[in-house]
Amino acid sequence: MPRTWLSISLIAVICVALAASGYFLFRGPDWPLVRDDAHLMNDAQLERITEFHAYLLHDHDIDYRVVTRNADGDMNSAASRMFAQMSAGSRSASGRGLLLVIDPNANLVRLEIGYALEGVFTDAFAAYVENRQMVPFFQKGRIADGILATTELIVARAQDAALNESFETERWSGGSGGAGATAKARLQEGPATDAGPSPSRTIEASVRTPEETLERYRAAMASRDGRPDLAIYTPDTRKMLSDWVITPAQMDNVARSMRSCTNHETVYSADHRHAVIRYPPDERGCPPYFFAITNGAWTLDLVSMQKLVRFGRSNAWRLGQRRGHTYSFAFRDWRFDSHGFPVADN
């Protein structure tokens, strides 16, 4: 009897060892979230994208891979093949996979959408984020910034989908069926000449209230008027914006966000030279807007907003510095938590 048990145990051990070695031999390489075969980015940029995409996986269960390609052949077929080879979506519990392929040789970029995400990230959405968000950065040679800016839109869409329960819950299968979009990457081609409908120069600064300036800013964003020299900005803001890439998608996003923020309150400084338009603290996606008097008119101070207002991963705003700045007068009656998020008094 002991010999029989010994034999059975031995056979069991051999079977387990064979199965384990087979798994490790044939499971294929462990693909990273970001792979830069074309050497378009430096290590720090790769690390930033990896970190951001790890958050996306953690927060929204979306396995988003990025590959820069250094090979010939049809881009669309290659993207579909790579999606399968990399098992994009395998790190997600619900099979949600995305793959961004940048091909500098063909000057093309493709966002391949997995089956489980086709309902949320449509072909039209993929084309929109590529053409209206990513490509303007690529044109200035800012590859990593273009990828990260696009991921922001993907996060925003994922948040909307989670709120509206639009995510596919039945089709758990991985893989892709060729969904997504391909766009001309226009790598380092210089600034775009066609960024949507041409705006009219009707936005003037001679406005009497911060609310009017804010409305003109919203109108500029809604018409995709990204000119940095508009009179509604403070001189420092104009200088800052002249170095920025302002994409049509970013302007759409600002206009959309502003439309949903209506319940505002205006707070003025004691000398009436600065003002803040703020929204109730529980409206986490509505940041405060800062204004300063320039040549007798209220102008938008985006430089101070950029320094003081931060956004978390869930798109909720917080103050990076609570005291000792020009606009602290507007928040004296508010409470903030240790991270700078405003606390609503219920």
Binding site: S77, D123, A124, A126, Y128, S176, G178, A181
Partner: protein
């Protein structure tokens, strides 16, 4: 979400298409009923019926042998009668062992047959599943046609109303568009008729699949021609609405390409199995037929370019 019927109705009332074109387009957009292999008895196909019979006979044989050898009341062997007697013990056990050995030997070929049969069924199902994906993408392409025609024609109408002084150009472009729309609807009807024609699944008819491929290529080319009309209108070309439509068209074309490649790979694996031993022996019993390839002359390179700068 606007249905195709509503969209076509609007296009007809707007004067974009005629009544005849509307009827033709609507008829071609109806989804095709799924075709499969004809069942023989109680929803079972010939091969499935055969496999079912083989398994039933095997189970009956095992039960019969059990009843013959081990059935009935349990008997206690008198060990004292057989102990230490040469050739005198285990007579009954030896009979049981022999019968079990015969059953096992007979079961092995049955088991192998079942495994081979199942593997062929699996491969055939993959072919049919991949073909369903191709058809679904054809339907997706067809569903985009009303949206495309409506977007382009509405813009032209709007432009004509806004810039009435370019009457000659308007008239020329409208006529070109009308001709292209007519060609597009006819191409859609031809592709739809081939897909629906015949009783058998098109994947078993190489000639029909070749015709279908040619018809779909013609349809793709017609879509490209309508899209090309937009080249003359930079405002429409750069509008978000048209970019969205263009993305859907390109996305559908890519889906069709991916689905076609997967279908052809599945057909390749299945057809190869039909010619290889021992699957070909099983295939002849199970009425498995060779499947047709969805052949392409040279898709990617010769495809009409629907991407814009």
């Amino acid at each position: 979400m606007v249905s195709n019927r509503e969209r076509v109705g609007r296009m007809q009332s707007d004067g974009v298409i005629s009544t005849r074109q509307a009827e033709m387009l609507l008829a071609s957009l109806e989804p095709r009923a799924a075709a499969g292999r004809e069942p023989l008895f109680l929803g079972l196909r010939a091969g499935q019926l055969l496999a079912f019979l083989i398994v039933a006979v095997a189970i009956a044989a095992i039960i019969g042998l059990y009843l013959l050898t081990a059935g009935g009341p349990a008997e206690i062997q008198d060990v004292a009668q057989t102990l230490n007697k040469a050739e005198g013990h285990g007579e009954m056990n030896r009979t049981t062992t022999s019968l079990l050995a015969i059953v096992l030997l007979a079961s092995v070929p049955l088991l192998i047959f079942a495994l081979l049969y199942n593997s062929l069924v699996g491969k055939e199902e993959t072919v049919l599943k991949d073909w369903a994906q191709v058809e679904s993408n054809f339907q997706r392409r067809a569903d985009l046609i009303p949206a495309l025609v409506q977007t382009v024609s509405r813009y032209l109408t709007h432009e004509a109303e806004t810039f009435g002084d370019v009457a000659e150009k308007r008239s020329r472009m409208t006529q070109t568009l009308q001709e292209e729309i007519d060609g597009l609807i006819k191409a859609q009807r031809d592709a739809s008729e081939i897909l629906r024609g015949g009783q058998a699944n098109p994947v078993e008819d190489q000639q029909r699949l070749d015709q279908l491929f040619a018809a779909q290529e013609a349809l793709k080319s017609r879509i490209g021609n309508v899209v090309a009309v937009v080249e003359a209108y930079p405002d429409l070309r750069s509008s978000d609405q048209f970019l969205e439509l263009q993305a859907q068209i390109e996305g559908t074309e890519n889906r069709i390409n991916v689905a076609r490649q997967r279908f052809n790979s599945a057909v390749g694996r299945y057809n190869a199995s039909l010619r290889m031993l021992p699957w070909n022996l099983v295939a002849s019993l199970g009425n498995f037929k060779r499947k047709a390839y969805f052949r392409s002359r040279d898709d990617a390179e010769n495809a009409p370019d629907m991407a814009f700068d």
